[in-house]
Subunit: 451 residues, 2 copies
Amino acid sequence: MEKNSAVLQEIASILERKGISRDEMEGMLEIVHPVDLAFILEDMSAEEKAQVFRLMDLETAAAVLVELDDDATRDVVNALPQDLVQRILAAMSADDAAATVRLIAEDRGRDEALEFLSRRQRSEVKELLRYGEQTAGALMTTNFVAVPAGATAAEALKALQGAVRSNTVIYTYVTDASGVLKGVFSIRELLKARPETPIAEFMKTEVLSVPPGMDQEEVARIVRRYTLEAIPVIDASERLLGVVTADTILQVVAEEAGEDLLKMAGAGGLNVFADPILRRVFLRIPWLLPPLMGGLIVGKIQNTFAGFNAAEFISLVLFIPVMMGTAGNVAVQSSTLIVRGLATGEIKTSRVLGILAAETGVGALIGLVCGLLIGLVGLLFASPHIGAIVAVSMLAAITAAALNGTAFPLLLHRLKADPAISAGPFITALNDITATLIYMGTSLALLRIFG
Amino acid sequence: MEKNSAVLQEIASILERKGISRDEMEGMLEIVHPVDLAFILEDMSAEEKAQVFRLMDLETAAAVLVELDDDATRDVVNALPQDLVQRILAAMSADDAAATVRLIAEDRGRDEALEFLSRRQRSEVKELLRYGEQTAGALMTTNFVAVPAGATAAEALKALQGAVRSNTVIYTYVTDASGVLKGVFSIRELLKARPETPIAEFMKTEVLSVPPGMDQEEVARIVRRYTLEAIPVIDASERLLGVVTADTILQVVAEEAGEDLLKMAGAGGLNVFADPILRRVFLRIPWLLPPLMGGLIVGKIQNTFAGFNAAEFISLVLFIPVMMGTAGNVAVQSSTLIVRGLATGEIKTSRVLGILAAETGVGALIGLVCGLLIGLVGLLFASPHIGAIVAVSMLAAITAAALNGTAFPLLLHRLKADPAISAGPFITALNDITATLIYMGTSLALLRIFG
């Protein structure tokens, strides 16, 4: 069973006691999962965090440090003596150590960050730091098991048994003398083989792999598509560099989907719980400029209504909010469906025109329903002329909104830009302007016809 | 390497040829992954799909059928003779067969759907169908390996080697005579143990588990939190029912994040690419009613401005769109950050008040910046009075928007409702009304002060 928050709170209060002994700590660690411990520690002061870390053995300290969020990791690194941090990092796998060093480097620069590594680890981690963030190279673990192509099942099993620090035992990779990836077999296939069987008999030689520079979103797409437990990373000469495992991909998928959500709301890159207030203010303001400018333009357009006589102006102005609001929501619905479809790969490029036509059709039908509704309101509370004007405008504005909302993200995708950024602020602003122009144009035309 | 789309297109054209022989098909299947084959088949007619399925061996047919989307699965089930479908389902694991039967049951009812199963499979699948959709019970596989607590490492290894259809070999579960879960060990721990070691020596007795009725989102949260490869499902008497694996969770996480995105846009439950047009229209219209009503109310409130003299009215009305638009975007930013934080578990319930205060503070600072900007516009293009009115209103409206956007999803979460549904249509409508009321109130008050 998962630890409930009451239990966690109790543990927290014990840990916060000043004089906790190493023995008590050991007893505690036996019952608390490193993830839960990290969760508890994140709420403590830097000094308290350091105190708990001093009482842990290095293996546990490494396991907990990996689970801490960025701010808590900084606290621990800054509060502990450098040689203790070095010993904790030495107990981590190279990829986990690289992630921590990446973080230290943000504050102190790369050279000082590398000082936190033992000489043995330094070259391996340096290698990993070469890859850009959010690429396959940055995600991969280098603790995989590889055996030569000539091995037997018994030898492969022995290699697996000896791989103390391996992060992944589900697949064993087969490489030649220069490390070139030749094949792969699963632990299941290995277990079923007789000991003397050469692995060449059951290994798969068609191996899905990715280059180290591939973006993590693309890696995640492949792993999901083929339901893989892990995917190897190979360089240009097909040498095996590392392995990205499914649990890493799980974090990536969760992060990326969340990132899309925040981007669409004009809050991309924000961490509401960790970022300082001023950063949160200044990251959000740029995304408010499109609606700000859009709103002023809409106001300016509305100004033209002032050319009518006051009674007509007032009646017509009353319907602007409902027109803008409803059309805006239709545009957001359409754009979100498209952004989502592009992210999951459900939208195939060959079908773009069909999707555009279908979404616009859906928009027109929605426009018809909403137009009739609002036309009825206009008819009952203003006049038949006003009713006709708002009904026609609503139909046109909503159809245009569906078209906007569909075409804009598809266009961005075509231009290799991120479609998620368009959905919120830009489409809403664009759409407010379109809706107002349509409403005004319809009003002018119909008022002339009605005389 | 992943197959690129040119290769896939070529394969598609070969498959679509009328006279493809069983031999040609076998050659094809050796080079095409079932996932890719499913992808190609989805674009074909029902008859073409059935033709390809007839040429596949049962194992492959089962692997491909599992990968097809719902509509394509329906095509295949309807176009093939029932006894062939039965043989294909018999080649699937019980949980995959249950998923297909669930789908058939939607069209033909549960009893007729069960006819597609062999007698041997029927009772096992019936058992699985008892669990609600999107629960741990519906996600779990029943093909796990369990060994008695008294076994040795050698015996456990033998059990694993004999588990032909097991979906998960990473963990082996330990149960007593009545199937009660007693422990778990990983394949890694097993490989390291000497053959004669009793498994009791290395198995973990503290096992994280979930009940079959737990919602899949909650299961996913636990699996992600503890970076598990699999989690066991146990009933009320702690009997092991099945295992949910990480690759299933990967699909769930991707789906749930996408579902949140669509819900927030008022497009929840929609599948833009498969649903018929009318369904898409009628599922979207309800989410347009809040902005529709909101817009009408805002119009009505604006009507009160008509009480002022015409010049003042026109100047003030011009700023309504920018006020509503900008505040609306701030509310969407805040609510999205909160919905996301609740989904990832980053928002701890103990910190709710702090988050509310911080977000409102952020809102006030954003309001200050936007208020000064827009006040300047008012000052330059209208009058100092108008400038002051719009500046103060903007500050107040944006602060209120941040408060609305933060409090509303937190409140829904507190009431055990889904916070994602609030973010789009409801908050925007609520916010348009608040912003207009604030603007009007400020205008009335300041115009009185200015005389």
